[in-house]
């Protein structure tokens, strides 16, 4: 209910019963918004809720808002096995309060303003380790992370191309309101 609607509902002539309620301040007293504080709940309830709720939410850069463009173009073309690794990494992060290495890092230098999600697969006896990176940025207050783009990291040179493109997308979201709807993994 907006503030003006609230005022109208208080001023409108209403039934006697409701008037009595109004007189008691039931309808018209402005009550402060009470944030639900899960930490103050009993532990069994807290554990149940924590099983049900992720802490962080992901938003995928997708100007078309169709779930096929932007970040999805990269994700949808990943080999299935890699997509599973990406899914699990994002799922773990979504349920982790404080992010840090080895799953996440803040970038500097030419990539300043961006953060990365690090997906490293174990080295095989015959093959070198495989690494993927997802570039994005976070809104810590809202516990949201914006997934902008991803790439396979081979020797680190990939950042030179990936960072400017990701920064451009970030600018698109922040300044021009480009769409980045909520997206779920897996």
């Amino acid at each position: 209910m907006s503030a003006s609607q609230f005022r109208k509902s208080c001023a409108a002539p209403i039934s006697e019963t409701r008037s009595r309620f109004r007189a008691s301040g039931f309808f018209c007293t402005a009550r402060p918004y009470r944030k639900f504080d899960i930490d103050s709940q009993p532990s069994h309830y807290k554990n149940y809720r924590k099983k049900a709720m992720a802490i962080w939410q992901f938003r995928c850069y997708d100007t078309s808002n169709s779930g096929r463009k932007g970040f999805h173009e990269w994700y949808d073309n990943l080999p299935t096995a890699i997509a599973a690794e990406v899914d699990r990494s994002l799922e773990v992060l979504a349920n982790t309060r404080e992010w840090g290495r080895p799953l996440y890092d803040v970038l500097h230098g030419k990539c300043a303003g961006l953060e990365e999600i690090r997906i490293d697969l174990p080295a095989d006896d015959e093959a070198p380790p495989i690494s993927y990176r997802i570039l994005g940025y976070s809104n810590r207050k809202k516990k949201e992370f914006f997934l902008l783009s991803g790439f396979e990291k081979i020797n680190g040179d990939e950042y030179a191309q990936a960072c400017p493109a990701a920064l451009n997308r970030k600018k698109g979201v922040l300044r021009h309101g480009h769409k980045s709807p909520v997206c779920d993994f897996p």
């Binding site: 924590k50 099983k51 709720m53 080895p102």
Partner: protein, 194 residues
């Protein structure tokens, strides 16, 4: 079927079930889950200790702790895990499970699951006593008394058969939300106060 009313858990399970039709996906997802979960558990069990201090506790160098927390390592042996479990006085389960069990397990990121409590003889005694109470309650078809308010953590009791939610609701000592802890053949009972 409309899915708007479903919880986040149900949405996750529906999406996973769809993706698991692909064998390459489910193989990779299981591997990623196991590697990341062990790394997460080590990190959660370390708590506020530095890697060096935690390594001292485990009688291992800091570099080993760093490797244990690295989900990309993936070469942990069962013996290493058993050694860590013994040093931290926690139990360890390594078992093959069916996919529904795995899907349920892999979605649990609660603090108790990530950092289980160490061995405590008093809670083990309570656990065995509660099991006996629960057993006789089920056998005599009496509702079980659950003291939810006094709990600091929960005790999980496995039942021989599925425990119905309605019989838990029937015991008036249980606080909202009623279905908490009912997971198939498990009943999580908050600890009794002494």
């Amino acid at each position: 079927m409309g899915t708007n009313h479903l919880s986040a858990i149900s949405h996750r399970l529906i999406r996973l079930a769809e993706k698991f039709r692909d064998k390459a996906y489910r193989d990779s997802y299981v591997g990623a889950t196991v590697r990341r979960f062990v790394a997460q558990q080590i990190r959660a069990l370390r708590g506020d200790l530095s890697q060096a201090d935690f390594g001292h506790l485990l009688e291992k160098p800091q570099s080993v702790v760093s490797r244990l927390e690295d989900p990309a390592y993936g070469k942990l042996t069962i013996q290493t895990l058993l050694d860590i479990a013994a040093k931290l006085d926690r139990a360890l389960i390594v078992q093959f499970v069916d996919y529904p069990t795995f899907m349920k397990f892999s979605g649990d990121f609660s603090e108790l699951t990530l950092a289980p409590v160490a061995y405590d003889s008093a809670s083990i005694d309570k656990f065995s006593r509660l099991y006996a109470i629960f057993d006789s309650a089920v056998a005599s078809n009496n509702p079980i008394k659950i003291d939810a308010a006094s709990s600091d953590s929960v005790i999980k009791i496995e039942t021989a058969k599925n425990y119905s939610v309605s019989s838990v609701n029937g015991s008036r000592d249980y606080e909202a939300p009623p279905p908490v802890g009912i997971t198939g053949s498990y009943l999580e009972i908050p600890r009794y106060a002494n």
